[in-house]
């Protein structure tokens, strides 16, 4: 068996299971039933099962089980296990390549080319494994932007206007994403300034173009909801931009840490071969990353970044609430503000009753 294919299979197995977590348990169950029927078909026809079919079936079943309601209790744990396993599998694949490169003729050249691959591996690991749990708490809000549920509701009112605006905003965000991606694919941890430059340029351009458009005072009978809508779009973009900034800051430090790992790799390799050195390599990755992140978390720039992310998140949340309130009002349903006021009054009354009961 080709070991590389085998490891790739393992990686894709993890990826498949990871992908399944996101879906609802109901749709997962539906899917597994379909898969079981499909997979069982050759068996029923007397053609027999292929081992690969079984493996694929297992991955699907695994994803379904994780997402199923009785597994809700273990959901975060399983997510952690999957992610940790993916990290280990990615490192393992790299380490295997390194070992192979050393054990063939012209080893020096091979090792050099493999260690150069380390930077790409480190970048892929960040993107596929590290980033998700680190930005997890912010992700929920971001997902609601794509497309914003409120925008969908308002689309019926604004029809084409809203659709076009959405398109403009999406285009704008895609530009940022593309620019950052192209910078991200070449940067290493030590040239943080480069992505900052791109990001700052994007922000400036935004303020002068789309940002200005979104702040334009509105007139006419739909002035109020239009302004709320535009404000929400503006705060959403600012929030997303801050999140990109945050993501890149985490990525840059990770890459910097992994550069350090690359420097220490030869010493580890000299200590022996096989599984034992891999464990040392894994420990080195974890410890170096932890130390770098701890240093970064204490820095003034990280505190600034945390403030920027939480401020823009709260601005977006506030605008979004206003937008929802406007929608609720038009549907003649109680708004959040009204419920808040009621709850405050009930809370005060309950306290008063308690005080009066105590005086008796």
């Amino acid at each position: 068996m080709d070991h590389k294919n085998f490891l790739d299979d393992i990686l894709s197995g993890f990826t498949g299971a990871m992908g399944n977590i996101g879906a609802s348990w109901f749709s997962q169950w539906k899917r597994i039933i379909e898969e079981v029927v499909e997979a069982a078909e050759p068996l029923l026809k007397g053609e027999g099962f292929k081992p690969d079919d079984l493996k694929r079936l297992y991955e699907t079943a695994l994803g379904s089980l994780i997402a199923a309601s009785e597994w809700a209790f273990h959901r975060d744990t399983i997510y952690g296990i999957l992610n940790a396993a993916r990290l280990q599998a990615s490192l393992l694949r790299f380490w295997t390549d390194l070992e192979r490169a050393i054990n063939v003729p012209n080893a020096v050249d091979n090792v050099r080319s493999v260690t150069e691959q380390w930077r790409n591996t480190a970048r892929d690991i960040f993107k596929g494994v590290i980033a998700q749990p680190l930005i997890h708490p912010f992700k929920g809000l971001l997902e609601s932007l794509s497309p914003p549920a409120e925008a969908e509701m308002l689309r019926s009112i604004y029809s084409d206007a809203s659709g076009n605006l959405n398109k403009v905003i999406r285009l704008w965000l895609e530009t940022l994403e593309r620019a950052l991606e192209s910078v991200g694919s070449t940067l290493s941890g030590r040239d943080i300034g480069r992505w900052k430059e791109v990001y700052e340029g994007w922000k400036k351009a935004y303020e002068e173009t789309v940002g200005k458009l979104l702040k334009t005072p509105q007139v006419g009978p739909v002035r109020v909801p239009t302004e709320i809508f535009l404000h929400t779009m503006d705060s959403a973009i600012r929030y997303l931009a801050a999140m990109n900034d945050f993501y890149l800051m985490l990525q840059a430090r990770w890459l910097e840490a992994m550069e350090e790992v690359a420097e220490q790799m030869p010493q580890i390799y000299e200590q022996g071969k096989g599984a034992e050195t891999f464990r040392k390599f894994y420990e080195l990755v974890i410890q170096t990353a932890e130390r770098h992140y701890n240093e970064m978390f204490r820095s003034a720039s990280f505190k600034e970044m945390l403030s920027l992310v939480s401020d823009t998140m709260l601005d977006f949340t506030k605008d979004r609430q206003e937008l929802l309130d406007w929608v609720m009002k038009n549907l003649t349903l109680p708004t959040r503000k009204e419920v808040d006021e009621l709850q405050k009054e009930v809370f005060g009354l309950k306290k008063r009753i308690k005080e009066l009961a105590g005086k008796k």
Partner: protein
């Protein structure tokens, strides 16, 4: 040949990893019905969502001075009773104490107006009075954990006549320290904006901040460790219990959170003896009862530099510090802690709780 055997070794490692990953699902399916907080207790008093628990004594005669355990608002109290052989509650019961615990419950959106006054001068005071009435004692022992310890310090300064002994465990006090990342981050937090917009502060969000303190250990490595120990049933059940506790994070009532972060974490008013609650000065000079201040040397959430100064800040003549070589969580659940932490606390408390000699001791 050599290359082949090495490849086999690496492939073997990969295959083992994959097998373990698959097996972990089976192992977890068997561990899905684990129990936590199993030490028997009765709910003896209810206050809105808060409940007062009274644990069943495990000895014939308990100490006349009951203990009220006050846990933090963050996470759940059953950390103290995670499993029968790792239970601070059970250890206290077995040491002959009469133990009560105040469970704060899970605040909902309507509870965001709850203030620190409601928690400390309301629920806590009502619980203390209830226990005093039920036990017939004038004063009781307050036993505060983490933020609950800070609450106990405040309470003891406000109502010293009701507190016979005060025990604080890994409790934040002096927040002018850069040792813990939480201290560093909370300083730049715009708590007014957070509470005004969100109402309650999401427990998951706070939990994320705790995980971020050691991201690679807590978000990745501990799961690798779990895969490595799949065969060890004890390890698995302990791990699952701990995971359950970690991700059981109640939201924080907005107004209480606002005051706690602004005045205690950002302005450090409690340690400066300038903290007021419900219009009353929380005067540390009134803490003259016996005090035991317990902390962990490797605490990454509440560093010793935050807990230690409390002992110096109070005039009590009967005060002691106990420090253990463990972390914020390890102090409650570590196997060594079961043999060291609780016995030492009990040893300190016994003579101050007028424990009647047990039957077995009388015979000697």
């Amino acid at each position: 040949m050599e290359e082949k055997s090495e490849t086999t070794t690496m492939m073997g490692l990969a295959a083992r990893l994959y097998e373990k990953f698959k097996k972990s699902i089976d192992v977890l399916s068997r561990a899905s019905k684990i129990d936590v907080g199993t030490t028997p207790a009765d709910v003896v008093h209810r206050m809105d969502k808060a409940t007062l628990l009274h644990y069943h004594p495990t000895v014939k005669e308990t100490a006349p001075v009951p203990i009220l355990v006050i846990y933090a608002l963050v996470n759940r109290y059953y950390m103290l009773d995670l499993q029968p052989d790792r239970s601070m509650i059970k250890n206290l019961l077995n040491a002959g104490f009469d133990v009560y615990l105040l469970d704060w419950g899970y605040p909902e959106r309507g509870d965001r107006f709850l203030t620190l006054e409601d928690y400390i001068m309301g629920y806590m005071d009502e619980s203390v009075d209830f226990i005093r009435n039920q036990s017939g004692t004038n004063s009781i022992t307050l036993f505060g954990i983490c933020q609950g310890g800070t609450f106990c310090i405040i309470y003891s300064a406000l109502y010293p006549e009701k507190v016979k002994n005060l025990v604080t465990v890994v409790s934040p006090f002096d927040t002018d320290t850069d040792e813990g990342l939480l201290n560093v981050w909370s300083k730049s937090m715009n708590v007014d904006k957070l509470v005004d917009i969100m109402g309650n502060v999401s427990g998951d969000f706070l939990n994320f901040a705790f995980l971020l303190l050691n991201p690679f250990r807590l978000m990745f490595h501990k799961y690798v460790d779990f895969l490595e120990n799949l065969e060890d049933e004890n390890f698995v059940t302990n791990f699952v219990r701990m995971e359950r506790w970690i991700f059981d994070s109640p939201d924080q009532a907005g107004e209480a959170f606002r005051k706690f972060i602004k005045e205690i974490y950002q302005q450090n008013l409690l340690a400066k003896n300038r903290f007021y609650l419900g219009g009353k000065h929380v005067d540390l000079n009134k803490i003259k009862m016996p005090v035991l201040n317990v902390f962990a040397e490797f605490d990454h959430l509440v560093p010793p530099s935050s807990s230690r100064p409390f002992t110096e800040a109070i005039p009590s003549k009967d005060k002691q510090m106990l420090s253990f070589n463990t972390g914020h969580i390890g102090i409650f659940v570590g196997s060594r802690s079961q043999k060291e932490v609780c016995p030492k606390i009990a040893e300190w408390l016994k003579p101050r709780s007028q424990i009647a000699p047990r039957e077995s001791e009388k015979k000697r």
